[in-house]
Amino acid sequence: MKHLHIVVVDPNKERAFLIVDGLAATPDYKVTVIGETHGLARQFMALKPDIILIDLQDPSRDSFEQIIAASGAADRPVAMFVDHSDQHMMRAAIDAGVSAYVVDGLRKDRITPVLETAIARFHKFQRTQKELETTKAALAERKTIDRAKGLLMKARGLTEEDAYALLRKTAMDQGRRVSDVANGLVIAAGLLL
């Protein structure tokens, strides 16, 4: 069977890498990544892709879609998305943020694993992004709490342990998070000093 040529249009390097990594395990896939999208839309059909994967929100998706649709009139008829009957899979793709374009006549059993991989990788990317943001936020919070503790230790002669206990008690009494109280203290101290 001939190689399945999958073109991934994605300016986001990390996500593109994740997708390629997921697809590369299958030997009969050939994967090409287009990272720089500007102005490329008009040439990329020369790559003769069988399946094109684009981020649903990508600003250049419109021009890619137009080219794909227009090429339908030529010798490589292209249909948007998979088999029209597979509503479930397409909904899953849209929810994940992937748009997929498939050359007409490509068998469903060849498309499904590619889409499944893309959907899974898009989700994984989203999770990684979220984890990264959460970790960053947690780090920032810890820094603020450390600064607030330092301020209390200096101003009231407390030990580190007592300074933290005071922050925690205040937070509980006020029904607020420790980091919020710490943040308030740091801001207030900045104003007073």
Binding site: L56, P59, R61, D62, R91
Partner: protein, 386 residues
């Protein structure tokens, strides 16, 4: 009990009825908990609406017809009980194209002179024009303009699709010679000095429906009460937004980062009908350039949808009779009447009219005094649906 409804929109001034329905409490009054999803591409609206990721959306009228005809990833019937606005699009030309058009007899704001200049200029090579979507009033009206003047749209235009908020960049980068786009993005480009405004879409067809409140047919039929509440909320919001004294508040709301993320003064000028034509500040006042007044323009006329369907059918390789039939089906004057009777909305007794026959404000038969604005075509064309 509040009912959750997911609604998709593209950042444009004509999304105002949906945004105002949420922000000013019209949706809440109807017991709806509306979740607005902003999408930059019309293709994403099409996909999310047709696969049911959203229940309803801000939709280009030709796109609703296109999806219902199966010109989309999946064939889904998209109905609409309400038109959100009439016109609001404008053509912006690069400084070079502006000069070339003027040398070929163009006069600002004159559709006939503009169309003839385009035809003359395109004899050497087609004019590269960016549009937000191919199944759009932008494309429909530009093709109508050229066809009626004896030109061939496929020779005159080389269309390139781009999301509305990115379209200005294409002109700045020299990827296109001009673009047709909705408010506020045309004015935004002119204010930035990217190009000059050649005309507003109402100079081609005064009665052009632009965006509609689109809903999946299945969803509408399964949730008729919710659909009617939504229709009422959006109808009220549109009328509120169209009232002159409210334009300041409406433009402030729309300008927020989560909506249009653009200066409120540009939006307010467009709401008031003031269009800046050139970077020199030359302004044209025309209240018909963008109409949101649902009392006057909200009714889903089957004849207008049929005209749009018939115009597009040859380009879509669709039988015109089939296109018109589907356009009729997806207009839902029945839902409009049922939902809006209690809102004292004007209810015309007919579902169709002769398009292009009104040259001034006219009272038509029906309940609550229906009054229609002018709906003439630039060339005096009459479309009789019968």
């Amino acid at each position: 009990m509040t009912r959750p409804v997911n609604i998709g929109f593209v950042p444009l001034t004509d999304a105002a009825p949906l945004i105002v329905a949420v922000e000013m409490g019209f949706a809440e009054e109807e017991g709806l908990d509306v979740n607005l999803l902003r999408e930059q591409n019309w293709a994403t609206i099409r996909d999310k609406l047709s696969y049911g990721v959203v229940d309803a959306a801000h939709v280009l009228l030709p796109m609703a017809i296109g999806i219902s005809l199966g010109l989309a990833p999946t064939k889904t019937r998209i109905d609409f009980p309400l038109v959100l606005n009439m016109n609001g699009n404008a053509f912006v030309a690069s400084p070079n194209l502006t000069t070339a058009l003027l040398e070929n007899g163009n006069q600002l704001g004159n559709a006939r002179a503009f169309g003839n200049a385009l035809i003359k200029l395109s004899r050497s090579q087609p004019i590269r024009v960016a549009v937000p979507f191919l199944q759009s009033m932008h494309v429909t009206m530009l093709r109508h303009l050229i066809t009626q003047l004896g030109g061939l749209p496929e020779d005159v235009f080389d269309f390139l699709v781009s999301s509305p908020s990115k379209i200005e960049q294409l002109l700045t980068d020299g990827d296109v010679d001009g673009f047709m786009v909705g408010s506020p993005w045309a004015s935004h480009a002119v204010e930035n000095g990217a190009g000059h405004l050649m005309l507003t879409s109402n100079t081609i067809w005064q009665g052009a429906p632009e965006k509609v409140l689109g809903m999946r047919y299945d969803w509408l039929e399964d949730n008729r009460d919710t659909a009617m509440r939504l229709t009422r909320a959006v109808y009220r919001a549109a009328n509120w937004a169209a009232r002159n004294p409210n334009s300041g508040v409406v433009s402030e709301i729309l300008s927020r980062p989560q909506y249009l993320n653009v200066s409120s003064s540009i939006i307010e000028n467009n709401l008031l009908g003031d269009t800046v034509m050139a970077t020199s500040g030359q302004t044209q006042h025309d209240p018909l350039a963008l109409q949101l007044d649902a009392k006057r323009i909200g009714f889903p006329w089957q004849s207008a949808a049929a005209f749009v369907a018939a115009q597009n059918a040859p380009y879509w390789n669709i039988d015109p009779t089939l296109a018109k039939t589907v356009a009729h089906e997806i207009c839902r004057p029945d839902i409009y009447r049922q939902a809006l009777e209690s809102a004292n909305a004007p209810l015309p007794s007919a579902n169709q009219k002769v398009e292009g026959s009104l040259h001034s404000t006219t009272e038509v038969p029906g309940m609550n005094n229906p009054i229609l604005g002018p709906d003439a075509f630039f060339d005096g064309k009459i479309f009789d649906p019968a």
